[in-house]
Symmetry: D3
Subunit: 327 residues, 6 copies
């Protein structure tokens, strides 16, 4: 991974704010950039309306606002829209919305009558509020990029994972995507790690229930170790199903890697309960409260990726190597 | 109050949907219009995103969506925006957002640095989502009307209250506004009821704390009964303060009338605990769950007002007499 | 398939025009609707600029313009934009762009730096020119729907194929998608036809070259007949590759079905030269000139699908059953 | 008051133009900024259309255009819109409309059927013409700020008045607002001056006629001197009414302070004819021709306030202390 | 000329309002349409701002607003923008601006640095205010049509003139355009009247001063009578110059025809003082006050042209024969 | 002509790309600016869609894209729109479309029913794609400038021609415009060259056929040499007609000068076949392939004009002296 510690942003030209969803990540990115995290005061009126005040002048400045669209997602969304609106109307020169987990990306098509392609709606709302640029990471489908009418930069988390796993013993290992949708992304990762790749043959029954009947691609024969590579884990259903199959096929050690560790209900618990799963590696695009920490769980920070991308954008350089070209 | 029971809307041309905030009011208005309330299916993905499906075809139809922006306000707002988006993108001919309580109207100015004029932001978001018209009731300040760039009709609740109180014994009564901001509105109501009017001299200390030092306007001398007339009661602080003053001045019986009964914390309880307050009259712009019901509390329905305004709009008639000209 | 021959559109309220790409289909749809195809005069100035004149008054009328974005694609696109512009500026009430083959849908993501998500750009240009609604068929990916900021209705071609193949002997047959991207769509078709389904494990090497290494899904064992089901065939590379695999696996008779028969270079010839391919079934979303006709090639008309969808839209009815929900 | 005489704007980057309404103020502000006032040539075609030419290149420059929307208000408005349009279309980088008196702010609500919320309309027209930022002073109601969809900075005139009156003998004095609408603003001023405050109990009969029946707030008992504090004086009706009341209550010396000295008809004359009014203090947001000068009339310049705000904006600093937070 | 007296507009669906510039023409058009002219109340606040109230409900109705952009042009423009804004925000279904004399059309290009293409600016302002359609007559250059981004219909005055002059003795007559800019238009008129045509060789020295040195086109030899055909006469300079040349060439009787009779300063007087000018024929696109009437001046009404165009638009018919195709 | 060879643009801040229409001119302008021409990779998908990749990072940079809208005009247009879209969505700071020959300018009015004012449509499409500024040269009519809603700079080619012809023997010469539309422009050129001027009396029969019956303006008597001065030559019909007339009137030597040398069909051949035409001088706004070169044809480069205008724009200077004020 590229690291650039020599250059910092001009603190007189830049303001970095954090929404309520993930102050830790905001603080880490700000530190990477060499600027301070400015204060955001958020409270509620008695009628439940948010009251937000940005704690530093933004006039003619380049403003970054970090907000991950995690649970409670609507509160976080409206907070973000209001923060953008404040910056814009207080004469900020640029307003960059940094959205590590753009959860709405999953609502990207109309597969039933009279539903909303919500990802497009939210892209439009961000523009209306006054965002001039959006940065995100690992969109559920690469087409979501096209929903934005302002410049948008989806970033890849692959550098974070390749950097981490390249220090492991990868002999006899295979990368496995839980379904064909993630197969392309897993293949790219496998190529970089010089490993074989396979994919689960998944069928989604409902939002929380899936069936996987077999694995396609490279053969698992003689392999002992699998690295399940996914974009997002919520209930963990797919990974559990896939692990069952892999174990049946003779895999003895499983690593799980996913960019967005949403981990709802008892999803994480179910995963760590599988003895063959020795480690779950996720990133901090989604804030993980202390009660969700677990010895088997490793969290890699995406702060250097966002930090580097912001820095390159600030210094007018290509961010191509950090970009999410569908993976 | 005008009532029109002869004409109904053409059910083949019209669709009426309700958000989660207040299905009862939606149902009452739909009945007034002579149309059925169409189904709205709302659930959550495991990543907390809303999933909404409108339950009836809207193609080339006139669509009404009722949502009161009450607690949980951000959930209700995002739900409303998504419903509007669904209707618009499914080729609805017109999309009317019916918002009985537009709570954001209170954020109507910048009285501190770097805050949001949120009412304007929300007005813009509604347009972006695809609303072609907005109906609301008793906006906190009449200027909020100017925040909308699509046609907007704020309605008055006065007909509802005048119809109710005109059946009471109003001898020796006076209308009292809790502060000067509501004085104009109270005066108009007093004139219609043929009663004197006064106003509390209020100073707001914080969102939840106010001081009232005296009453101005018509003298309370010799009067026994006061009707406190307000737009919105949340914690009830102002009304409690004002009641204390009125009682000191010799008032023995107090009625409280307010359009938007938000009633948070133990606001309602504190009011009913004051012995001189014999009745609190509010409307159903805000949904009142069973646990907030109380023998001293009367709820008047605004369904006929919204119903009549929608009907007049549908039949191309002036809604002037239902309009909120600052009161 | 639904057929509605009783109702016709009001010829005084409607105008139907055709661009240069496919007058035959335009004429067939117009006939289905019971209206005449109005004239479009197209010529070129000596500086190569198009000169277009619509041949019938559009004032306050509902205007339909049919144009398939086939080769020469830029000429057809600019012609379409100009026709829309003429209708809009001559006070048409509605301007519907009917685009059977929206070829730009393939440029739906940024999988390399500094390329264009052209499908989004074209969606925006159509709106700028004045289109108020778009109808298309079988978009390359369902997310492309979200690129439109005006109401858009992608239609399905499945009813056309199921109606045709249900009259064939389907014993021992299997539906095969050439790759995982089309697997969902093939599965839906298979379910409707009550047949098993499989998919080629395809890897794209370049725009014109692909490799398929095996078939996944239901086993081909014991089956004699395969129906390759694809959205679009240009050079035919995938189908040829897949046929080779299928023949190796024991399939003796192959039908090929594809919505958009682009057939460039000698693609069609290569297909018909494979003895096991007994029939290629496509639709008329792309105009097929006489020199491309072949005894093995069957062309089904989508005119009834577009006609019916337009009719339902005109009469304010749901078009749900004709809709492309990803297939 | 803050004064910054050390820094000046870069004359190569900035252009300052004046409309016809108030060249003197434009010239004073330009001098404060250290730049020259560029020429504006204005004439009329024989068909009464304005012909305007800006006298200096604006390409890629930051352009300021000063125009007070005073009588003849429509001529001044159209002149301003044309100047903005010229700057924008000649590739100015930023176009700042400096509007000391935004007279349309009074038309901020719909208190009768089928009237215009003109302040919103004008805000939209300014944006359409190409303004990227607006600066104004003391808007009639603070909500008008929300009518602008481009960044807007309403400034306060309070620093000007507090600086002036702090040099006077304020013993036994009280600040009096003519009505409750101005009470908040007066209270803020009183707090800064460490004086008591009261407000007239005004009722508006028509645009030119008002009744005041008493004063509320701090008692006048024992006080000899009152400072009437208002935002705008046109016919002077309110101030005359209020003065009558104050004199009845024992006030012997009256100062009148108002930001916008519109002074129409014989308004100024009537004020100076009241013997107890010893001084009328206004600002130069509205140009005061020589024939309106009077020994009792003092005009304070707002040039340093606008100059300082422009300077801070130019140097990316907060203008919070000059901002009009409702006063 | 086409006349249609049988059909009238539905008075329940239509509202016709007039601005201050030309109530007589508005009234004549309304009568042609069979609807009443609704009231418009216009007054001024003491700060010179317009206060306008439309006198009839416009909800969901088709609204026509007539305003000629004549002197005082800025007052008339702002009045028109406000009337449009009122109609739009009060939920009118369509808002048609009927502008018989669009005076700004003369500012149609940038022939000097840093001037405004004002005609384009005004077209944009009309759209921002809420106009959905514009009708005008004889634009100074046909390209101005392209400045509008809403549908616009420039109408021709030729039918009015040809109907009038066809009743005259046209033996030995020639049509003469004052300059080459009007030559095309004059030629079209001449063709319709079956007369020869010529044009003055004009050079414009300033807005009010021109030189004509000769006549080109058909020879004047042996002709006695000339019909000078122009779009607009203000000071009359061109016509006076041209008359001088014509008289020198032997013409003994001159008729002057112009669509827009602006007649400023003593322009009309100078024309009637030329003995060879026997008649000046203009239309009522510009209101002619009694003091400008003269025995030599004939005013033809364009009410039937506007009335017929509005009627055809209302009944969804082509207005091609009334259209201004550059003449 | 101004030449500025000392200053160059900062290559780190600027990117210059060329479309397919005219790489040579792009390269020449880039060299003038002192920057390199970045690569543009263009190919076609098998469905005829363009695939374009810009070959250098544009993030936060000032991007110039050169494309002349010459034959094949629709391909060149769509290529330009895509290149602009790529630059905009990849976060370019400014996107300047440099369009030496804006061929659509000829479609600038509606002189027949239901045709397109295509020049306005294209201006809108360029904005939608993301252009922030347009530079062009010698628009067919100066009003076309008003079609752009982004800043646009039409440049003049006069400096190029005056610089060239001032080195010739101009004794006994006259400038002749082929028609009145070009007369103004020719007069300006004649004034600069200190020569007399005349104009052909042209009547257009069709897009490719014209009649000229005589010459108006200065007399040709005694003159031997004529310089025909036109904006654009396609078939050459006008020039051939005019030459015939001039030769009849005694002119013995003809030079032809035109900005845009479109030269279609055998237009150029017909011109060079006329013995009296000794030289045809055009510019390189339109690419001239080798097979169109001819000894009688001289091509002057406009690269210095565009280069200088871009440079002045970059350095915030007026480009007034290069501007096309109708000529």
């Amino acid at each position: 991974m590229i690291k650039d510690t020599d250059r910092t942003l001009d603190p007189n030209e830049v303001r970095f704010f954090s929404g309520s969803s993930h102050p830790q990540l905001a603080s880490d990115i700000a530190r990477y950039l060499g600027v301070e995290l400015a204060e955001t005061k958020t409270s509620r009126f008695s009628n439940d309306n948010l009251y937000i005040q940005l704690g530093a002048s933004v006039r003619s400045r380049i403003v970054y606002i970090l907000q991950s669209l995690t649970q409670p997602v609507n509160d976080n969304l409206v907070e973000l829209l209001m923060m953008i609106d404040i910056a814009r109307s207080a004469s900020a020169k640029e307003v960059h919305a940094i959205i590590p987990y753009f959860s709405f990306a999953r609502s990207d098509k109309k597969d039933a009558p009279r539903i909303s392609i919500t990802a497009r709606l939210i892209a439009d709302l961000l523009k209306t509020a006054g965002a001039t640029h959006v940065m995100s990471m690992v969109l559920h489908s690469p087409q979501v990029h096209g929903f934005f009418s302002i410049p948008a930069d989806p970033l890849s988390s692959r550098p974070v994972f390749s950097s981490y796993f390249s220090q492991k013993d990868l002999a006899n290992a295979i990368i496995v995507a839980p379904d064909m949708g993630q197969a392309k992304s897993a293949a790219k990762f496998a190529k970089e790690m010089n490993l074989p790749v396979a994919a689960g043959n998944k069928e989604r029954v409902s939002d929380t229930k899936v069936i996987i009947n077999g694995v396609i691609g490279n053969s698992l024969k003689g392999l002992k170790r699998a690295l399940i590579y996914d974009d997002e884990i919520a209930t963990g259903g797919s990974v559990i199903e896939l692990s069952r199959i892999l174990i049946e096929e003779g895999i003895q050690d499983i690593w799980v890697a996913c960019t967005h560790g949403v981990f709802v209900h008892d999803g994480l618990q179910k995963l760590v309960d599988i003895p063959q799963i020795s480690e779950i590696v996720t990133t901090d695009t989604v804030y993980l409260p202390p009660e969700k920490q677990h010895p088997k769980l490793t969290t890699l920070s995406v702060a250097p990726v966002f930090g580097e991308a912001i820095k390159k954008n600030y210094f007018h350089e290509s961010i191509g190597e950090l970009f999410f070209y569908g993976s």
